[in-house]
């Protein structure tokens, strides 16, 4: 059970949060100009990394804010938490 440091509320138990999968996958601005393969790449393809993975988390049972988490999937250590719209840290 993680302890997650919500950038708006502080440290809270994992049960207050919902994971939203891989981060930094921007919705294409002009979907109509993508072919099927390009659209499928956005829609379906996700990484499954052993090591540092950038993910979205939502403080669903708290402030309802989304934010980003850099987590080491090999030991679940949270290396960095940063707000939506910020660039991923170099780790």
């Amino acid at each position: 059970m993680f302890l997650i440091n919500c950038p708006y509320c502080g440290e809270r138990d994992q049960s207050e949060f919902v994971s939203g999968g891989e981060a930094h996958i921007a919705r294409p601005k002009q979907p109509t100009e993508l072919n099927d393969d390009q659209w499928a790449e956005y829609l379906f393809m996700r990484k499954n990394i052993k090591g540092i993975q950038f993910e979205r988390w939502n403080h669903a049972h708290g402030c309802r804010k989304w934010f980003n988490v850099a987590r080491d999937t090999s030991n679940d250590k949270i290396e960095k938490i940063y707000k939506m719209g910020e660039q991923p840290p170099k780790l």
């Binding site: 921007a26 919705r27 294409p28 002009q30 109509t32 659209w39 499928a40 989304w66 030991n75 679940d76």
Partner: protein, 1001 residues
Amino acid sequence: MSKNLRINNKQFIDETRKLSFIFNGKKLYGYKGDTLASALLSNDIHLVGRSFKYHRPRGIMTSGSEEPNAILQIGNDDALTEPNVRATEIELYDGLICNSQNCWPSVKFDIGGINNFLSPLLPAGFYYKTFMWPASFWEKYEYFIRKSAGLGKSPTKQDPDMYDHRYMHCDILIIGGGVSGLIAAKIASDDNKKVLLLEDKELLGGSLIYDDNDISKIDNQKSSEWLKKLIENIKNDKNIIIKTRTSLAAYHNYNFLLARQNLTDHLSVNDRNNKIRQRLYKIRAKKVIISTGAIERPQVFHNNDRPGIMLASAVKKYIDYYGVRCGLENVIFTNNDSAYETALSLHKSGTKLNAIVDIRNNSSSEIVNKVKSLGIQIYWNHTIVNTKGYKRINKVTIMKLNDKGNDVVGKKIELNCDCLAISGGWTPMVHLFTQSGGKLKFDNKDNIFVPDKTNLNQLSIGSAKGDFELDDVLKNSIKDTKKFLQIENSNFDKIDVKCSKEKEKKNIWLLPSDKPLSKTKPFLDYQNDSTAKDIKLALREGFKSIEHVKRYTTTGMGTDQGKLANMHALGIVADTTNTNMGDLGTTTFRPPYTPLTFGTIVGRNVGQFFDIFRKTPMHDWHVDNNAKFENVGQWKRAWYYPKDGESMHDAVQRESKAARESSGILDASTLGKIDIQGTDANEFLNRVYTNAWSKLQIGKCRYGLMLNEDGMVYDDGVTTKLGENHYLMTTTTGGAANVMSKLEDYLQTEWPELDVFLTSVTDHYATASVCGPNAKKIINKIFKDLDLSDESFPHMSFKEVKLGNINCRVMRISFTGELSYEINVEASYGKYIWEKCIEAGKEFNITPYGTETMHLLRAEKGFIIVGQDTDGTMTPVDLQMDWIISKKKYDFIGKRSLYRSDTIREDRKQLVGLLTDDPNEILEEGAQIVKDENKKPVNMLGHVTSSYFSPTLKKSIALAVLKEGKKLKGQKLLVPMIDKTIKVTVSDTVFLDKENERING
């Protein structure tokens, strides 16, 4: 019979409080302070159970949670009986009833014992190998295998006990109240930290508290005396919370731990009334110190499982703590110095010790020298090659080891005994450390796995870390705790410890015998009856991974999870395959450390508290009017209102007829409601719905369909424009929370530039929906000044109106196809407005209807229910709702996916209507649709999603999803059921009022 096994011991046993208990129907006595095991032993009972596979007689072997044999059925009440309880852990109480498991007719004479003689026919993997052929016979085999499987019996009635959960937070959590844990607690407390100290036994102090030899000294005091003073000190320490009878079950990441406290299991049954039985602590600790100690290992030799064979440390504890002799003629078999403490305890209590058998060549430590000086016979460099005595050991046969230790030489010597104390060294309890993700390393000197790397803020100390001698335990615990807590000085810095130091070590995982291995039974896992032979067989058959060997031989898979067996299994695999044990690794340690009851896990969340449920403001009215309820998400929704013993079918027919012919009323409060405000609210709606919203005027409503980004229908509902930048969106009842979070997600992450604010107002408003040809007259009676003419208040529009001081939002929208008004009021007025409608509608026979009638009415009109007629694989095109997809909008969620190669396939499943050839035949929802049922394999074309009998149309109607359904209109198809085949014809999805005339009353 009356052997004198009880020694006077006033320290831990209260001999003034005699307790009676019943074991296998026989009344026996023990004292307050006894465990069930010590009480049985004091009655000279070793034989308590039969082993799982061979039904061999087994006795109490240990004094703790590692016990493999003495697992009993406690209690004889259908609701309260508990199987697989370790006799070594349960404290004796007056009136305790217990029985042996896995034996019939009795533990002394067990028919299953025949398996012991069949054992050459029952090797590892016996079941896998034997019951494979012929495959079709499996069902017959299974019946017999299931009958013989399992140990105790589960209770058959609901558990009447109360259980509890509690959260706890602390600076330092200390697991284990032995000497190292106590020292760490004191050091942390002196540094003003908040300490939580857990101990699974009744008393603090671990094994040092009953240590009674004259060699170990702390600060020139007897070590147990020194410890008692420390415990008194800690008990009065305000920084330290102590929880005894509390065992740690699971150690999760981020120092989140679960511990179970036993609150009433030690009380007599009458004293337990209205008390919580067990409490689960959910602990979040800043730092964790593991001081769980070590478990003594047995030794692996031929027939090492007879009743009367016990761990040397257990024999010592039964004498020194419980005051119980385990036998009157003892032999000790060891490979290390610690068993010599048992020798001293036996000697001190005046118990006969016939001999010590030691596989080492010699030992000259202080404690061994002392035993030598007592004149006790020691057989150095000897091993046991056999034991005798079926229901209780009576003899051991020993022989000399050769130089390599892999064979025996010389002549056999027989020694009499009724108790054999064995010691194969110590294994640190690293279970919790590894559960938390820590990595182990192998220590070749002591042949143990010790904690190595961890990512957590944690520390292992004492023998849990691999320190076994008193001076190492104390000095390293002090040093490591100080470093861990970043403390310079402690009150223990000048501690002076004296103890015996072990100099000679020798370890043989599988001891040789004079017989070939195939003719012996050297047990590793006592509970699952796996032997060293089984391990070797598994290796011969090609199993390499230790995880595979474990599962194939079931070593370590009993209720004790191999606490005694695993190290020897690993050692034998390493020896046989010539691998270093460190390279071999261990099997995975999984929680719980000791079994938990289901009651503890669920706590208070049973019965009506299993899940929360939500009630609408009109709920009490529904109850008073005999509604039956259905669960929709967490809501309790009125399902139908049976009158005078009506069946559900009859009630629904009556309700829907009334709604079509005069008027009906539905509680629609559960629909999700989201208040949307902001200057970009209109643009936002354009992006999240498939249809266009730009031209919607204030006071108008519009139906919208929401897709996922993959193009599949996600939710639907009507949204009303309340003001220039203000909308009220409704969602499906079940989808409300998901829609809200999905919209928030897009707003915060994809379109942060939009000025839009979302507020969930589902619970803020109550909704009464009045429909039917007389709806207008009823609403007119309530809101006398409201202009209800079609010009002023047309379909899909909204008016804000006051009823006294109550603000009402009235929407003219319809899910039934009838003229229909939805009145929204603040939730607290919900019941009032509902009763107002009922009163006003009395003369029009206004009929409350539930969700079932609502479903029927909308199905007649071909309106979909998201989640019933769709399942996450239906696009709007599949639903024949092409009209709702805006052609003009550049983008909306899911738009691009609507023309992926897969979504434009014409042979997708599509929504159609179905009519049965026999109008009285009602299809079953979920039934499969086929064209030809004779050609096998039968090609499934689709399935029925909604099905009802329409009282208005006087026939059965259904909606279905069907492959290429759009093209199949008018086609005859079949719906095969278990006892018949129903003929159907594909139809349009709208069955009633295709011209939409009823909407105007």
